[in-house]
């Protein structure tokens, strides 16, 4: 067994490129996913019967199927069904949006419902319209409770991007595999890939800690 860590240096530019794509998919996907999740979560918490049921079905379908199957469906089944062909990169981003959206929806719903009914009533009792109760009273309180599970979901989604290897998106894991295929340096390359992921998830965790420290849970 000859292990030569110095070879990693040769592949650093490639790995950085892969990491950039991973980050791009994660960030774009999460912006969409958090937006979608907020809407769906509010539908679950405040929507009438129909909106609530629609949101519930979406959440259950996504949470009840593996993300790989969701990606495969988007990439291979959708073109057959409705004749929409999307490129791997768009598929990847869309998959994160749809997948994270469902989990974020449950996080948002949980946070909103955890705010005591008494506070909502106190707001309504002074004559506030419902939207102001949500924006000024429930929202800020729910937001504080949202941060920890939301941060966790960001880390999960970041790691989930590695499975876009199945549709050939050149993200970090795929990059690692391509390098591997050329030189068979498994230990060095996969260690380097893991360290790249750790740096990204570690930074996220750290950010999360800092935000949590600054915000008192009320």
């Amino acid at each position: 067994m000859n292990i030569d860590w110095s070879i990693i240096i040769n592949f650093l530019p490639q790995l950085f490129h892969g990491a950039k794509i991973t980050l791009y998919i994660t960030v774009t996907g999460l912006i969409g996913g958090i937006t979608l999740g907020a809407v769906i979560g509010l539908m679950r918490a405040y929507g009438g019967y129909i909106l609530n049921t629609l949101a519930f079905i979406y959440v259950e379908i996504i949470r009840g199927t593996p993300i790989v199957v969701q990606v495969m469906f988007l990439y291979f089944a959708l073109p057959v069904l409705v004749d929409i062909r999307i490129d791997p990169m768009t598929t990847a981003i869309l998959a994160i949006v749809i997948n994270a959206g469902a989990y974020v929806a449950e996080i948002v719903r949980g946070a909103v419902l955890s705010i005591s009914k008494g506070l909502t009533e106190a707001g309504r009792a002074i004559g506030l319209p419902r939207w102001k109760v949500v924006v000024y009273i429930v929202g800020p309180l729910a937001f504080r409770r949202l941060i920890p599970p939301l941060g966790n979901q960001c880390i999960v989604s970041l790691k989930d991007t590695s499975l876009f290897i199945v549709i050939g998106v050149g993200e970090l894991t795929r990059t690692g595999q391509e390098i591997m295929a050329a030189n068979f340096r498994a230990v060095e390359i996969w260690t380097a890939v893991a360290v790249f992921y750790l740096i990204m998830t570690g930074t996220l965790s750290l950010l999360l800690r800092i935000i949590e420290k600054r915000m008192r849970i009320l």
Partner: protein, 242 residues
């Protein structure tokens, strides 16, 4: 004297449960109505129908001439006429005392920040908490929180104040500070509807005592007349246990 709150044959059902049954009740300006009755008799529900936190099932209920069935906009007007104080205080935890009181003036009455802060400070002084305006709810005792909650309700300039067991969550020594604020309000001719177990308050401050039973008004009389001399056995029994 003109009625400011008029229950006209009001019923309230929760599914099959009849919580208020055909209640007729007029409350006049300046009255301090004390509501008592066994648990589940509908006291809170009666109060919450007045400001539309519960929707009445049938009949009509007018507050200062406005019907609670008039839709959201009317309902918000009614809520500005009728302030409410809850057993659990329900102060907004992310705001300090001053912000809690000023919030409604700014967002409901549309007052500017400066004016709202000044008037909030005055209200806090009125409830004896002028020096606590920068304290957050979790930094205040229960009695202090409840007094902030009273100031918050007063800030909307209501014509009626509704109290749902305002001292039930408080230790005995803290009850008095809240009751004395309420007494002061009564002296200023504020119309009040108070659900409470504090019979001495009912006797000294109340102008009218209502005993509820199974969603109906069983007794409606002058407190001084009936507290020591209950007109029926169930009320006698109830009073013995509070």
């Amino acid at each position: 004297m003109s009625a400011i709150i008029e229950f006209k044959n009001v019923s309230k059902h929760f599914g099959p449960l009849k919580v208020l049954e055909e209640v007729d009740l007029d409350i006049n300006r300046g009255e301090v109505v004390v509501l008592i009755g066994p648990s589940g008799s509908g006291k809170s529900t009666l109060l919450r129908c007045i400001n539309g936190l519960e929707m009445i099932t049938s009949g009509d209920l007018l507050v200062d001439g406005l019907s609670v069935k008039g839709g959201n906009k009317i309902l918000r007007e009614i809520r500005q006429e009728a302030g409410m104080v809850f057993q659990q205080f329900n102060l907004f935890p992310q705001m300090n005392a001053l912000e809690n009181v000023a919030f409604g003036q700014r967002h409901v009455r549309g007052m500017g920040r400066k004016a709202a802060d000044i008037s909030a400070q005055e209200l806090l002084e009125k409830v004896g908490l002028g020096d606590k305006s920068r304290h957050y709810p979790h930094e205040l005792s229960g009695g202090q929180q409840q007094r902030v909650a009273i100031a918050r309700a007063l800030a909307i300039k209501p014509k009626v104040m509704l109290f749902d067991e305002p001292t039930s969550a408080l230790d005995p020594e803290l009850k008095q500070e809240v009751l004395s604020v309420m007494r002061k309000l009564a002296e200023e001719q504020m119309t009040m509807v108070v659900v409470t177990h504090e019979m001495s308050f009912a006797k000294q401050v109340g102008t009218r005592l209502i005993f509820m039973e199974h969603g109906k008004i069983a007794v409606d009389a002058n407190p001084a007349d009936v507290i020591d001399n209950p007109p029926n056995d169930r009320m006698k029994d109830f009073l013995r246990h509070v």
